[in-house]
């Protein structure tokens, strides 16, 4: 119970923290709408108006991933800048319970992207929100956000050792959009990318949302997304503890 409370309160605290940053707010407000607009005009140019809802959902998911990526890349770095990394690592709780809320908060705030792109598509471009499975869509969206938060922890844990975590985070935006089939179907990619796509929780999350939008078996995809995400959480926990010990031993927690 106290673990759950730590996670929930931590997520709320970091979500509030993010919501106080004009930089985060402006980017979260504008960039998903730019991406959604770009997707709408591309799909219109391709004369595929029946896929506009799929494009809006894909653009929203891209926004959630961007938010998680920025949040995970900056999860450790921001604590370093604020001078609070040593303090949170000294907290008498497992490091995962301290870092997971940071990446979960970025996934939760990223949910705005999905809502905004759907609303933008409906209001500005008149895209009907005709989901084949509306309830399953909501559940898949929650699973997807939770999964991305856990995937974010795995990334954040590897960033403990890096001085410039952003260098790794910056170029990861487009590859995950591409490999996960958020806008481009995976079948359009070279076949060697298939195994890479299959181990990403984002692939299954995107698939579950697409199936809830267009029809298809939502639950298996959502379940696989959740299972891979839990594996990421376990792996991220192991990495985090191991890397934290190494950084403590080398005296580089605040410097690396």
């Amino acid at each position: 119970m106290s673990t759950l409370r730590t996670l929930l309160l931590g997520t709320l605290l970091h979500a509030k923290h993010l919501s106080r940053s004009p930089f985060e707010i402006a980017l979260a407000l504008v960039i998903p709408l730019v991406q959604a607009t770009l997707a709408v005009y591309l799909f219109r140019a391709a004369d595929e108006p029946h896929r506009l809802l799929e494009a809006a959902v894909g653009a929203g998911l891209m926004g959630i991933w961007s938010s998680v990526l920025t949040g995970s890349g900056g999860a450790i770095q921001r604590q370093r800048w604020h001078g609070t990394l040593e303090m949170i690592m000294l907290a008498p709780r497992h490091p995962v319970l301290i870092i997971l809320p940071i990446t979960a908060a970025s996934a939760v705030t990223g949910t705005y992207s999905l809502l905004a792109t759907l609303l933008w598509g409906r209001v500005v471009y008149g895209i009907p929100l005709d989901f084949t499975h509306p309830v399953a869509f909501l559940v898949a969206a929650v699973v997807c956000v939770a999964g991305l938060g856990m995937f974010g922890l795995l990334m954040a844990s590897t960033f403990v050792l890096l001085r410039n975590a952003n260098a790794l985070a910056n170029p990861l935006e487009y590859p995950i959009w591409l490999l996960s089939g958020m806008l481009v179907p995976i079948g359009a990619l070279p076949s060697w990318t298939g195994p890479l796509a299959a181990i990403l929780p984002t692939t299954w999350g995107a698939r579950a949302l697409r199936e809830a939008t267009n029809g298809g078996p939502v639950w298996p995809s959502a379940a696989i997304c959740l299972a891979i995400s839990v594996a990421c959480l376990v792996l991220g926990s192991l990495f985090l503890v191991s890397f934290e010990r190494r950084a403590r031993a080398a005296g580089t927690l605040a410097l690396s």
């Binding site: 591309l42 140019a45 391709a46 910056n170 487009y174 591409l178």
Partner: protein, 261 residues
Amino acid sequence: MKTLRLLGTGGVLAYRALFNWTTPAMYIGTLLAGPTFQLLFFAYLGRQLGVADDSFFILGNAVLAASNACVFGGTMAVANERRYGTLGHVLLSPRSRTVIFWGRVLPYAGNGLLIAAFTLLMGVLLLGLRIPLAALPGLALALAAGSLACGFFGLTLGALGLRFRDVWVVSNVSSALLLLLTGVNVPREGLPHWMIGVGQALPITHAAEAARLLAAGRGLGAAAPALVQELLVGAGYALFAAVLLRIFEAESRRRASLETV
């Protein structure tokens, strides 16, 4: 001669001091790998949708690849002086601040050209783009014009940093809008008229058009009007940045807000 030295040497010194992405890891990750992945994303999306052929997306994204280095670099050229507490020293200089700041754009434009060329090379190697050899000098000119225009556009945004504290919001949003409004990823005839109109006044738009004409083997004569337009856009932003820098410098001195971060 002294002015040229101020432009050249001053620009290079400032580049080394203020450009946040000069470490190898940041440079490769953000400025080389990032644009390459962006190119692949739009090329595969374009293939799947059948909106345009590969060359449309490769050339558009190669020109756009310069924008990150140039737009953010131009912003850093001003904003990072304030961040590192050295803005006052620069503004106290007895030399022309306009020349100082214009000089700063040149290394960023050179860097942008390098990144754009690298991205184009990736397009050739990974996606099999074929470019006529005779088009290469003209393409280099188009990429250079786009980089220079982007650099001055970035400097204009950086000038806003003398007035507004969070200039990075403006840079990030502007960078995202370049993706949409310049027609590098959506054929411009598919965009609304007002977006096309805004795109005409933005860097990259005309350079991308020139690059596509050149790669299609249409020759420098056909691409010249677009190249001239790109250079005019760049010159316009250079003047606009100089005016903004003067106004905001005077205002910052008057309001004693020069070092307010």
